[in-house]
């Protein structure tokens, strides 16, 4: 049965000619902005009675229909924050989980700043749950106390005789819903310091609570930036400089004449935007546009030049990041010495949703639709471009189709680009026209802001008894923070994101030296899921494995002895080894193959993760990761299933980098452009993964990133155990 007829033409994109009855499954027409924003911000839709009747604080509202809307200050990019933070509120509130709705918070540093980041609102560093744990619990507890006070007044009974369970407030036979009490609760005084629960009374925290976003994400109804359609919206695609640092010299738009659907051409910081009626129009226009670039001062290095520069620098001592004892002297006197050098490439984030942003600017105020990770930094950056006050930039938070750090650009690159385009349109008299900036996959991969490449030089010394007595670790890598708005975080010449995981190494080594060179290279770099730990964990965990082997000791036992004062790493390592059956020999593989099992343990963002990888190496040197056993110590696991999901995903994301990830630079330009030459992990390459959580009642620490660092070294160590070489360059290649 054909229920509906639609016409696709250039001018009117969609006309509904005739609709035959109800039950339409198509989203028809163009939604007004407000409806779209509401749909996007609200995961589970709210009904007519859902207008807030009680807003005790900035983190939740309760409506007459008893729905509890939790306002989440972090962007949901898959890590589960739209479930985790609402869980805290629902638990303290004793709400039924089915009452809970979720809304992304607007940009407001005063209300929603990240408590670990000072005055800035933003998501990153695996902080979402860790930083907001007390705050969202207190918010729920405050609302509960006010509902109870309202019921106590209504029923004329003492507040401490009132129960709240599963969304119902009761006293004996008297019962009321949150909605029935909401208006009265709103009149109650705010409790100064609301008492949070004794953990023994938790109903959701620590148990399985289903994700709030699984339904919309399984049915194609979740709204991402890419999905925003506003009345009169245009789409922009940008012609980008061929190499980093090049500038626009001249623009020849003649080729655009005769191309349908092209509306405007606007110069942006690193290129030229072609603005059209639709993506396809704009993309064809962009491809046809001729731009002459001034790259006289442009970057001309290739990867080999960058590596040569790194090698030149690594020969000399760098800025000291950590120094204990006398590493040089201890090394000189060691019975056995080990030396190694490690190379790591640039890595693109390659989130499934390429960068994009929707902005509308009416000359006085701007509205932004974005999977927004650096809310107040991006708000300020957009305001600066437009010459308006930051509070005149309203941000509608949307789901992010992955980020892995990319949507938190230290220079607000893609949002500045979008703001520049609407400013350009305003100059051309087109105020109020919304524009969606869309990066193609190739644009996304070529835009830079990679995980920085690095070179590590390491030396270790063992005494006659096989004890590790000396450790020297020198790192050469571009600073992420220097030259960015976060440059003040560089302390004593050391960018902490360059040495994290190395300078704070957990192993007790009496003589230890970690130093750093931060060469200036024009390839833009930024945080990439687990940041410095992406390379330091590999260097440390494969080198410690070599040390164990040189000492003739079991790699797990060798590590454990050095981690006696690191309870988190020790607990994770012990649990992983136990669950992986480390004490028993690994089952052999098919004839002609060799199998190996490797371990790595690493603490990042205060969470310790141990991973044990089982690898089969074929005669031709190809290898497959068969199974990974992971144990995580992250304090209290608020939602154990999401903790497991983040470990599984972190392992897969890290494995993609271990097996394939590499952006190479040629003549100042990135070589790779799409998933054909920048390979990522596919399902047939995903090992079986088992995740175990160390039981803990400690305050939760993050899980979005810490699953990533141990996988590459665990795999490299497994290959070595299978009789392969010690691999010291990523991506890992064993074939000769």
């Amino acid at each position: 049965m054909h229920r509906n007829r639609m016409e696709v033409t250039r001018r009117a994109f969609l006309k509904v000619v005739g609709a035959a009855g109800g039950g339409l499954t198509l989203a028809i027409g163009i939604l007004p902005a407000a409806a779209l924003a509401a749909a996007a911000n609200r995961v589970a839709g709210a009904g007519a009675a859902a207008a807030p009747a009680f807003a005790p604080n900035a983190f939740l509202t309760i409506a007459r229909d008893s729905s509890v809307t939790v306002i989440v200050k972090h962007v949901e990019v898959g890590q589960g924050t739209y479930t985790g933070l609402p869980t805290l509120v629902a638990d303290e509130l004793d709400a039924a989980w089915s009452q809970v709705r979720v809304e992304g918070a607007p940009a407001d540093a005063k209300l929603y700043h990240n408590l670990l980041w000072g005055p800035m609102q933003g998501t990153g560093g695996s902080t979402s749950l860790a930083e907001a744990f007390d705050q969202y619990r207190a918010a729920g507890a405050a609302a509960r106390a006010m509902l109870v006070a309202a019921a106590a007044a209504r029923w004329r009974v003492p507040a401490d005789t009132i129960e709240v369970r599963n969304g119902i407030v009761s006293h004996g036979t008297k019962k009321a819903t949150f909605g029935e009490l909401a208006a009265d609760a709103a009149k109650q005084p705010l409790p100064a310091s609301p008492a949070v629960k004794d953990p023994k009374r938790f109903v959701y925290i620590g148990t399985h609570v289903p994700r709030t976003d699984s339904k919309v994400k399984s049915t194609g109804t979740a709204i991402y930036t890419q999905d925003i359609h506003l009345q009169g919206m245009l789409t922009a695609v940008v012609a980008r400089a061929p190499r980093f640092g090049a500038q626009v010299k001249s623009i020849d738009a003649a080729a655009l004449k005769g191309l349908p659907g092209i509306r405007f051409v606007v110069e942006v910081p690193h290129g030229v935007a072609v603005v059209g009626n639709s993506f396809w129009d704009a993309k064809k226009g962009r491809d046809a546009l001729k731009v002459t670039w001034d790259d006289a001062s442009g970057f001309r290095y290739s990867s080999s030049d960058i590596l040569a520069e790194f090698r030149r620098q690594i020969a000399a001592p760098g800025t000291i990041a950590r120094s204990e004892g006398d590493a040089a002297k201890a090394l000189a006197g060691a019975a056995r010495k080990l030396d190694a050098e490690f190379e790591f490439p640039y890595l693109a984030h390659a989130a499934m949703e390429p960068m994009n942003c929707v902005v509308r600017y009416d000359g006085d105020r701007a509205e932004v639709w974005n999977g927004e990770q650096f809310q107040t930094a991006d708000q300020a950056a957009i305001a600066k471009v437009l010459g308006i006050a930051p509070e005149k930039v309203a941000i509608h938070q949307l789901f992010g189709g992955g980020s892995f750090g990319r949507r938190a650009n230290p220079h607000s690159d893609y949002v500045v680009e979008a703001a520049t385009i609407v400013k350009g349109l305003a100059v051309q008299g087109q105020r109020g026209v919304p524009v969606k900036l869309v990066w193609t996959r190739e644009d996304d991969m070529h835009a830079g802001y990679y995980r920085p490449a690095s070179l590590h030089s390491m030396h270790a010394g063992l005494d006659a008894a096989g004890s590790l007595v000396a450790w020297q670790h020198r790192i050469v890598t571009q600073s992420i923070l220097a030259g960015s708005p976060f440059a003040a975080m560089v302390a004593n010449g050391v960018d902490p994101t360059s040495v994290e995981g190395a300078a704070d190494i957990g192993y007790a080594i009496p003589n230890l030296a970690v130093d750093l060179h931060s060469p200036e290279i024009a390839v833009p770099v930024q945080w990439w899921r687990s940041v410095g730990h992406t390379h330091t964990a590999f260097a440390v965990e494969t080198f410690i494995d070599e040390a164990a082997q040189a000492a003739g000791k079991d790699p797990v036992e060798f590590r454990k002895a050095l981690l006696a004062h690191q309870p988190r790493q020790l607990a994770a390592l012990t649990l992983a080894a136990d669950k992986a059956g480390w004490a028993k020999p690994l089952a052999p593989g098919a004839t002609g193959t060799k199998r190996g099992r490797g371990v790595a343990v690493h603490k990042s963002f205060n969470t310790a993760v141990a991973e044990i990888a089982e690898v089969t190496v074929a005669a031709d040197g190809s290898f497959k990761v068969d199974r990974v056993v992971c144990a995580v110590e992250c304090g209290l696991a608020v939602n154990p299933d999401i903790v497991r999901a983040q470990m599984e995903g972190g392992i897969g994301y890290g494995l993609a980098a271990a097996l394939f990830g590499e952006i190479t630079i040629k003549d100042g330009a990135p070589v790779q452009s799409n998933f054909n030459d920048y390979r990522v992990l596919r399902i047939n390459e995903m090992p079986a993964v088992e995740v175990h959580i160390v039981p803990s009642a400690a305050k939760p620490t993050g899980v979005g990133e810490p699953g990533v660092p141990p996988i590459a070294p665990a795999v490299a160590n497994a290959i070595a155990m299978a009789g392969g070489r010690r691999l010291r360059r990523l991506p890992l290649t064993l074939a000769a």
């Binding site: 696709v8 890590q79 994700r211 399984s218 396809w280």
Partner: protein
């Protein structure tokens, strides 16, 4: 003019629409069916997977000019087979999605697999799903959810 059907609705595309326009962008920009996602534009990632005449296809690789008169296209919004319902239920039961951006394509590929194979092995799943990239690497759960869906289909 080109005429085909999307989720059983007739779509008439006027002749002034560029014939090289990929189906993906007709769905997304013209019909506002945004459940089908853009991920790579080269048929490498599977985010834009739809059913054409019941078979999975990468809509970014299907130019308007190649769509034959009367072709049936099904997007995630119109997916309503028993297999699809079972897959979507399993996806929710196991909380498969993380960022979720690729999942429309994953769901369509999984439902197609189950339509032809009610008891897929790990190898069958890997083969059928290898064209769908998930950067969150939800693959462990995709495998489990496909088996869960298969079990509910009996």
């Amino acid at each position: 003019m080109s005429t085909f059907f999307v989720n059983r609705n007739r779509v008439d595309v006027s002749s002034d629409v560029a014939p090289d326009t990929p189906l993906l962008w007709i769905l997304r920009d013209s019909l506002k069916l945004t459940g089908t996602k853009y991920g790579c534009g080269l048929g490498l990632c599977g985010a834009c997977t739809v059913l054409i005449e019941g078979k999975p296809a990468r809509s970014c690789q299907v130019p308007l000019s190649s769509i034959r008169l009367g072709t049936d296209v099904t997007t995630i919004e119109g997916l309503a087979t028993r297999e699809a319902r079972a897959v979507q239920a399993a996806w929710q039961k196991l909380d498969v999605p993380q960022c979720g951006y690729c999942q429309s394509g994953q769901v369509i590929s999984a439902a197609s697999l189950l339509a032809g194979n009610r008891r897929p092995s790990d190898a069958d799943i890997d083969r059928a799903m290898a064209g769908n990239i998930c950067r969150c690497a939800t693959y462990v759960r995709i495998r489990a959810a496909i088996k869960e869906a298969a079990a509910t289909l009996g």
